[in-house]
């Protein structure tokens, strides 16, 4: 009797839990699905039957044709890719070097430098925008992709150095000492250690990549020129301009969204493992 009651209770708990999860899945996915679905429909169908998927008689690519014709999405994509990959490379490479020095060598000022470099984790770099813009004007970097890469690198370094330092401290001493006995230079040893912290680097890569790709603030202020627009800024302005052209708006949203979703779904295991590992640290 007792057993069956507890079983019943567990069964009820299970049902409740799945109902909650089901609702949450709908809430998370429905808006995304709705946009993608309607981007493949003709105008009338978008308004008359927003909830039905595109059928043979309502299917249309007119929105995509318009977007490709009237905007430079290809260029914006290239810009976003250059900025994101360039910043990522600098963040990971320079961050790993600094983290290695902080974790490996005992020198005067090590603790101070560690704190100094960690300050930026909590302070949003946006608060320095007025001076960043003035600095970029002086350096003649306004409306260049470099201005974005440099700012994003500075923005990403603190957390990267913080996380990588704690991971590099865990690399066994024997490995490094053996290499030193073999006469390897410090640079060689750093190069040798790097692959050992690959999981941590992947974590950091995810943490830093998403905000850079999605950022609107700095492209808007530092590189608003047509030639240097990123996808996020380009989409924002295109959407603002064609707000009444529903086909174009839905298609450009889909175009801006789908690449990220594909990358996310392909790498979601690694991304989530990285996030949870990073959170435990």
């Amino acid at each position: 009797m007792v057993v069956s009651r507890s079983r019943l209770r567990q069964g009820l708990a299970k049902i409740t839990v799945y109902v909650v999860l089901f609702i949450a899945v709908i809430v998370a996915l429905f808006p995304i699905a709705l946009i993608i679905m309607n981007s493949f429909k003709e105008r009338k169908a978008i308004f008359r039957h927003p909830m039905t998927p595109p059928l043979p008689d309502t299917f249309s690519l007119i929105g995509y044709e318009k977007v490709i014709e009237r905007s430079n999405f290809g260029l914006y994509f290239a810009n976003s890719l250059i900025v994101t990959l360039g910043s990522m490379f600098l963040i990971l490479f320079l961050g790993a070097m600094a983290a290695w020095a902080l974790s490996e060598y005992d020198f005067k000022g090590n603790a101070f430098l560690g704190i100094y470099l960690a300050l930026g984790i909590m302070i949003p770099i946006r608060l320095g925008t007025v001076s960043i813009l003035r600095l970029m004007v002086k350096l003649n970097l306004v409306n260049t992709l470099w201005s974005l890469i440099l700012v994003y690198t500075a923005m990403g370094l603190p957390l990267t150095i913080f996380i990588l330092t704690s991971f590099m401290k865990q690399v066994p001493k024997e490995l490094k000492e053996a290499a030193r006995l073999d006469g390897a230079s410090e640079y060689r040893i750093f190069w040798m250690i790097l692959p050992l912290v690959r999981p941590a680097i992947a974590t950091v890569a995810v943490f830093t990549m998403i905000p850079i790709w999605n950022d609107l603030w700095f492209p808007l202020i530092l590189a608003p020129g047509e030639k240097t627009k990123t996808v996020t800024l380009g989409a924002q302005q295109f959407l603002g301009q064609f707000v009444s052209d529903w086909n174009a708006v839905l298609s450009s949203l889909t175009l801006a969204m789908v690449p990220i979703l594909i990358i996310y779904i392909l790498f979601s295991r690694q991304i989530i493992r990285g996030l949870t590992a990073g959170a435990v640290k």
Binding site: Y18, P31, L113, M122, L127, G128, P158, M257, A279
Partner: protein, 311 residues
Amino acid sequence: MATIRPKRKRKFPTHILVFLAPATILYTLFMIYPLFDSMRLSFFSLDKQGNEFFVGLQNYITLFTNELWWPRLWGAFKHNVIFFLIHMVVQNSIGLLLAAILTSRLVRGVGFFRTTFFMPTMLSFVIVGFIWELILSPLWGVAKDILGVFGLEHLYAPWLGLEGPALIALSFISVWQFIGIPMMLFYAALIGIPDELIEAATVDGASGWKIFWKVKFPLILPTVGIVAILTYVGNFNAFDLIYTTQGALAGPNFSTDIMGTFFYRTFFGQQLQLGNPTMGATVATVMFLIILAGVLVYMYGFQRRVDTYEL
């Protein structure tokens, strides 16, 4: 050999410099220097030729007492507090609930659910803002149709265009987007709890509900603190969503204006008002102080007290 040693020790090893210099220089030049320079600029004004001159606290006095500035600052701050509170209450408790469910061992396919709930977080504010603008638009009527399914059609209103509900609607849109982050942080903390602790409680006959609140929740308090401070810093620095959906003027009638949009308007300008870099720097410094206050409360008021419970 012994005689050279002391000299060698004093010299800073080159390889350490090579490792540290690039990151430190970039970070100092593009992050630390601008932050301090902004604070310095808040004590200056610009003349017509664009030359700086020292004005002491005048910018702050203007910001806090001028009848054109003060209502905007106070409004932005107030809206930002509401924005933050909605995130704290709604986003973080739903995040905790989902994480608790996913770690309760009642569920199969945890990976699928985690991936799904985190998906909106991957999208940019711009995309999220427009998606919801379309869904809530009275032209399309999707929101109305959905309410209609539950017979609640009469509750629909073009929320983003109404002074009262716009800020709340935007807060919920932002919650929708970022729910994945607290969920993931809580999830990581909850799976980190040793099984023995939970088993011991189960043997003692405690229910799942009781185990969660009496055993698990006290153990993840440090994560609660981290989530709270991340939410605080993120919210008081938010900009993109409001700018995308409501524009730089944070309409209707400034009712969705938060610190980030106020800062942008002040220093970059908008239709009717020229940008003012030094006033912008002043607003940025005020934002810095607000964020700093939150971080200090977290560090001294929360983190220290909670550390004792850590495993």
